[in-house]
Amino acid sequence: MAPTLCAMCKTQRALIKRPKNHAKLCKACFITIFEDEVHHTITSSNLFFPGEKVAIGASGGKDSTVLASVLKTLNERHGYGLDLVLLSIDEGIKGYRDDSLETVKRNALQYEMPLKIVGYDELYGWTMDQVVETIGKKGNCTYCGVFRRQALDRGAKMLGIKHVVTGHNADDVAETVLMNLLRGDLSRLSRSTSIVTGDSGSEVKRSKPLKYSYEKEIVLYAHHKKLDYFSTECIYSPEAFRGSARSLIKQLERVRPSAILDIVRSGEDMSRLVPRESSSSCGGCKTTPVASAPAVEDDIGGCGSRNGRTPGGEMAAMDKQLIENEAYERLEIDVASTMARNKATQNEKPKDIPIRNGGSKAATRQVLGNCKRCGYMSSHDICQACTLLEGLNKNRPQIQI
């Protein structure tokens, strides 16, 4: 039997079945089309401007390594005129970062890019190992995620850079869409799919050029380009909503490879369906204190090669909170939802009943301001990082005898 030829060049032997659509391609054509698609994403969304200084959030993992490699290639090939810098965060997890930071250092040499490493200890006075020592293994990913998000932005600011690109891929975005559906968090759902996050109010713009790239193709690309990356997962990563969503996505991908992209598409479309007023409809927000640990401030946290997973037991915590809410709800007469439902289907004018809890469904709209302590953008007086730090610092005397 003659070997299957590449569907694109029709001359070389097809060695790769594209995970995205099962097209059979040769190695060279796969690498070309992968890069072309990223290029298209970049140009169609006008991600960069010539001369822009861009920091690549580099963890040493496959996603950020591929991102650095692809951006370098495209920058040279298409003359983006970008000034690319690698920016790494050292969370201070022994045995995890030590090795991956070595990888990033090698990447810096390989790609001839300057490298800046920012440590949690520098920024917050705490390494992740110390955090774990204090609060235990449960829930520490919240700290890590919150700290990291700011760390990248602060590191960029230090370097005078206004744009950070991260290696989030299509799987990550799809995962976030499903996760936010499971969490019932419409505001995050509407934010998470956009390629650029951090609006005019924030000093540092963030984008994810690999948003439409399949994780499996990123691995293939790294493999065939023989990229030097580090593949160990965060040793503290627990199971949670994200883990649950991730395993679901993997199953869906096996059933229908296009499912990942289809979820991204759904997520983008649904973000336009989110009513403007209901900013946060997560189960915990109706009654004041949220039982579940404070979630990561924005769309996607980052945890090394795997993206930050929210604390273990989060699902159970939310379940509990929802049950409590329901118990309270029973004590009220649910006029609002009945009327809303009536209104949705018939265009009669609503009956004149004074609605006591009319506005209760729509939580207060988040207003973006700045943290009073560190000046970082936040929808609260004190940003999450500072809140978390306060809690940590209270406990410090106990561990530092």
């Binding site: 298209h40 649904m270 939310m318």
Partner: protein, 458 residues
Amino acid sequence: MDEVTKPAVAGGSLVRPCTKCWAQEATLDSRSHAVCRDCFAKFISTKCIKQIAILGKETRAPGGPPAASSTGASTSPRRYLLGLSLGVSSSVLLHLLNENVEFQLAKGRNAPFELTVVHIDVSSSLVPTSTSTSTSTSTSTSTASAPAAALEKYRQRYPRFDFQCVPLSAIFGLRTVDWSKLPDVQNINTTAPSPPSQDQNQQQEQKLRQLFDGLASAAARTDVLRLLVRHVLVAAARDGGCQALLLGHSTTALAELTLAETAKGRGFALPWLVNDGLLPVVEYEYHDSGTAAAARNSDGPAATAASMLVYHPLRDALRKELVTYATLTAPPLTALISDAPDAAVATSSNGGNGAGAVVSHKDLSIEEVMVRYFAEVETNYASVVANVARTTGKLVRLDNNGTGTGEDGNGARCGLCGMPLDEQGDERWRGELGEAKDDQLLSSSGRICYGCERSTRG
């Protein structure tokens, strides 16, 4: 559960008194409360009746007297159609509706509504032509099909209602599907090697089987099947002069639907699919009255004729609660319910899926993945399941212009699923994703939605 303050006397002698009535032994767990059988059953029926009451207000004849007046002579009786899959949820819904009618009649009132129960028989159309290894039905259409027999048992138990068994092939008589947009279906008439002796019915069945054989995957077959069943149900409701179509979806089923449709790229249509309300129905004009003949190719083949109220009265009950409820009725509903866990979902080509059986992923549908996933979530985190459906309920129904609600049915709709087309989203997607040369999906004609393209051209 309403926490009733514990009466001083009652419940004292019980080992584990029901936390609701304090009068009986609690034998069941209902949302982390120990309850007795009666209170559990009442809890479920209240959830259903609440929704039926909302629908009742919705379908009140305009200008008629308030529903409270018992002798509503001037209001014509409400008429609903219940889609019965023969699974647990829709069977429970049927039982609850019957209970509701009996309750009203016992109080000397008129029946609150008339009900037609329709089962769409998909049994013969889904057996692949090549592998007719299934248990009994596939070829012999002369004997009554298994679903028809099953339906007979329902008919005997609920004689008050009108029961119908409609074959899925009835879809070919409908004008609500734009067949010209289904590439594999257009040629079925010409390519069908059907012996001349076959009667019309068998030809239709044959055609249907070819339609499904032409779809690329189990995921696509299950998806299209669900859409076709919906079309036939809506048509039956319209033909029967019904004001609303009732579906048995539980909270869990709606959560599954939400995530499944998201995974199939129909996020834009979710508010139309999951929420209760008015669903516009589009009809396409055909040159001849022939069934699968080409629809007119011009831009305006559609005549937006009508709309149908679609309601999910069990939207506040979990599937596991309905499964429990089915054992509590006298006699238990379990005797009626067919083996498939939920026929609406489990009817993909691999037959009634053995629960937990290991199947190749190629033979799984997106729906089945979701059923498995939520079965697990429901066990441990029931409120999370409920929250998914509630969240989807907050999404806004947009029409394809991106503004306002498209409840009136203005604007183009998908020729297969009937949902609004998301032209804005299509445009953006094409722009951002780029033109992969081999990808036909992106060169959409704009008359079929993204999700339906995936399933038909997949």
